[in-house]
Symmetry: C2
Subunit: 333 residues, 2 copies
């Protein structure tokens, strides 16, 4: 993993992020034409490490052919985050960061550090997919294709409400103390994970006991695993920072489109395949149906699966992996 | 409102509920043939008062024709509950109560207090609808028709997980103190309401800003209303008692069917119309599709609406009210 030092960054909110850095990792090599760049942003509880499940020597994205740049989201604990920021901005003092800010900084990394002018593909799951839309809207001349899966160009009001729920569960733990905790709010993190689990799969996933394919004997085992994942791997303020970024996701925010969402969609030049999951409870296909109507060169390719949002988590559904790789090949050919 | 004193009740769990009482209210009069009885159990955050939105002089259930008995669920603060129980069983010391226990006690009220032998219809929304199935399975010779709407004969595993989420949000507040609180766990109750709101309607309800029809300018106003409803109207232990009853809902529990769910469905003699809402996130129609296949005399009549589970809350959707009344008339004719 490498760190790219950005210095002090002026944010869309008007605040400044001090001594900002992006943590990233590359795989493969840039070719002489510089036309084999594939950008993978990270998802909500992801890092570049978890992105490694989306590519490989036998996959559509192949480090033997492509120059893959995997960039960590601000707030994920590797790029600048409440847990590792300049002391003046640590914890509860961390500023509000939008996807606009993330993508502006990722753009600097690509152009200044790598002298890259074109990106063949930006793709990702969930909040990573949201970043692919943001890239295509913010830098329409630079992005040749996007493939957001289980994602949206603008966080829907229902998705916002779902996130308010998990946030409320975490913040009900007074150890959280408005972000000024001295030890982790463990009960709050557990509650966060337990509420989240109900949204991550579909009703039919549970009806058909698909969780057994993940190695859980019953739902309680699954719930405890979700609790532990949040307690062991995530800092509360980091989670809440990224949650706020997610809630504010809207490609038309900022100086170019001034909140004209359909205009922002329309100005995306990238060839796009939007791949929602039929049973995703918080990124339902209906939101992508609206998007595809207003994009220049986009196809809606809904994937039917009772896995819901977690269909795309590497290892969960082999059929999704095949469909994803086929779509990526279609965009890259 | 009247109270029916049950004395000490032996529960399915083996525990005893001390000095139990059912709070109920009747409307209309029992006719001489005693064939005009309509039973309305109460839903999760309901009381007999909120059931009054389901009948009236111009409705299918009409107190001028029917003898309506509206019975409060154990745990709702009117019937025996953690908040009002015998001192030995108050608060965290309240025993586990199933729908089997509720219906056994409701049966005693009807047979011993009113000498009623036949019920023309048991109907209700959500957990009240669950009680209609329980009645028909537990006393198949007494119940002539049921109309559960947005309900199920057995709580699905996904529904169980959703309930674990709202419970975890409440219990993350240490004021709750494992049920031994001296003042209400307000932050926990707020979190409970905030998590719940995401499940109560559908994704499309929010997309189409239907909450404006409820008088809310934006989602935050809706969320605050849900917070306040729980803080102002509900005791935490009462909510958790009913939640556990809901999680354990399964008409095949108990001595008659010994957990043979399809057998229990098959032994229901009542004429039934099952009325799920197409967009209900926790009582999805798929669960009722299974049920109707195994019932002797049941029809599935799905109601299509983006209101989701709350389609049936009186006043929300006039079209649902019409469909409900038509179905009730079909069962009563």
């Amino acid at each position: 993993m490498n760190n790219y030092e950005l210095g002090d960054i002026e944010l869309l909110s008007g605040e400044t992020l001090l001594s900002a850095k992006l943590a990233y990792k590359t795989y493969g090599a840039l070719n002489s034409d510089k036309n084999n760049v594939i950008l993978l942003p990270t998802f909500y509880t992801g890092t570049h490490k978890r992105n490694e499940g989306f590519f490989g020597a036998n996959r559509a994205i192949n480090p033997e052919k492509h120059f893959i740049i995997s960039i960590n989201l601000f707030g994920n604990g590797l790029s600048t985050s409440p847990s590792n920021a300049d002391k003046k901005q640590r914890g509860s003092k961390f500023p509000t960061i939008t996807l606009w800010d993330n993508i502006k900084c990722q753009h600097e990394l690509l152009t200044k550090n790598f002298n890259i002018e074109k990106i063949a593909l930006v793709t990702g799951w969930s909040m990573a997919g949201c970043q692919s839309y943001q890239w295509a809207a913010q830098y329409p001349d630079m992005v040749e294709a996007i493939l957001p899966f289980c994602a949206s160009a603008k966080t829907s009001e229902h998705n916002f409400v779902f996130l308010e729920g998990v946030k409320a569960a975490l913040c009900a733990d007074p150890i959280w103390n408005n972000g000024d905790y001295s030890s982790p709010p463990i009960e709050g993190l557990k509650a966060f994970g337990r509420v989240y689990a109900g949204w991550a799969f579909s009703q039919s996933f549970f009806r058909e006991k698909k969780y057994k394919e993940l190695g859980f004997k019953n739902v309680e085992e699954l719930l405890i695993d979700w609790e532990n994942d949040h307690v062991n791997n995530w800092d509360a303020n980091n989670l809440l920072t990224k949650l706020l970024t997610w809630q504010q996701n809207d490609i038309s925010t900022g100086p170019i489109y001034n909140n004209n969402f359909t205009e922002a969609l329309n100005r995306i030049k990238a060839k796009a395949i939007l791949m929602p999951c039929s049973h995703d409870l918080y990124f339902p296909p209906e939101d992508n149906e609206f998007e595809v109507k207003h994009m220049q060169n986009a196809e809606l390719r809904k994937f039917d699966s009772i896995w819901g949002h977690c269909v795309a988590n590497p290892g969960n559904d082999k059929n999704f992996e095949v469909a994803l790789d086929n779509a990526i090949n279609d965009l890259l050919k």
